[in-house]
């Protein structure tokens, strides 16, 4: 069994987990919950199996927890799906309308991700938010690289349809 200094792991990989979760969830409270859930899951995984790469494992667990939380948000009608922090101050080089457009697109993409199948959403996030290669994603998820490519293509198609439909309505 591995001996893991979790304090060091949290300090070293915490920022990556935080960034990934915040990009997907968009607010501080959910991100903090997702952060803790991710490391607790990592602890459970480390007890069951040998962890080869913590960044990849934490990226996978973070995206999975964040997508679960997005779905939970979509299922509960009382919770608004576009709760985002207002603390983000726009830079001086970005126009306000561009900022609004970017926020709307990000919210739409989060809603669309919540409606995708779990594996497709996870592959999409690992590829485009964590910049992982097909091979790394396939290795981490225990599938073939070709399968990962096919699932990613399906995810892109569904997301594009959803975004175009949302843009029309």
């Amino acid at each position: 069994m591995q001996v893991i200094d979790w304090k060091a792991v949290v300090n070293k990989h915490g920022p990556i987990v935080w960034n990934t979760a915040y990009r997907l969830l968009g607010n501080h409270t959910d991100t903090a919950d997702c952060f803790q859930d991710t490391f607790v899951c990592a602890l459970e995984v480390s007890r069951r199996q040998h962890v080869r790469s913590f960044p990849a494992l934490l990226a996978r667990l973070t995206t999975a927890r964040a997508i679960d939380r997005l779905r939970q948000r979509m299922r509960e009608p009382n919770i608004s799906t576009d709760i985002t922090d207002c603390a983000a101050i726009p830079g001086s080089d970005v126009e306000p309308y561009q900022q609004v457009q970017a926020q709307e697109l990000a919210i739409g993409l989060r809603e669309a991700l919540a409606q995708l199948p779990q594996q497709e959403a996870q592959i999409f996030c690992l590829r485009y938010l964590n910049d992982m290669s097909y091979r790394s994603i396939a290795k981490e998820l225990g599938i073939k690289a070709n399968t990962a490519g096919v699932l990613l293509h399906r995810a892109r198609t569904k997301l594009r349809q959803h975004l175009e439909k949302a843009a029309v309505t």
């Binding site: 920022p15 935080w18 501080h28 607790v40 602890l43 101050i89």
Partner: protein
Amino acid sequence: MEEPKDILDKAIDALANTDVPPGPPHELTDATVAKLKEAGPPAFLRKQEGGQDEFKTIRFIDRIKPTKGLIKFAAAAVLLIACGYTVGRLSAPKSPDIEQLRSAIEPAIRQNLLQEMGQYMQVGLVSGYAQLKNELQQQYRRDLSNFAIQTLAASSTVTNQRLQELIDAINTAQTQDRRWFATALKQIENNRLQDKNQLADGLETLALQTEDELQRTRQDMVQLLSYNQPSSLNPEELRNPSNTNERSKK
């Protein structure tokens, strides 16, 4: 020329470039580490807890080992300083008259101090002014940007609401038009059926009358051919040919 991105790529860019506040906060990392500790160490580490103190002792000894030389050096330095201080105190000349010395140097010190304070205050005021101006400018820009974002979001919401109302109104008007159109078609159909019935009745009446008239004409023709006076004609009618014409008109 750069190709225009489709909506998915734009959305990916927007999501990937989301402004993430610096984190995670220390409280969160501490809470997470505490939670992980609460979840408990692995079993084999729990078994080794008895040897933990020994491990700590060894680590403490190892830690102070490189500082032993430093402690010796510090003690020697302290001893040398103390010796120097004692020699200096013993060999120092008698102290000068403090009051005389103070009165001699006080005006010069005061003058220098005033000049330096003036310069210092001036530099501080100038830098403070520039910093304040810069901060106010940034604050003003942030406020304006926030206001613009909120205004755009609010106007977008109101526009969507108005568009929805317009769509509802158009749908209602179209439904009303369709209803009127159906009513008119129904009325036309009713009129047509009524006209058809009237026409059928008229034609039937005409056919019956025509048949009666033909029957009567046929009887008249038979009587005429048999040289008999038609029973339907009066002698008056035979004398007056105009009556015959009237009958034929009938």
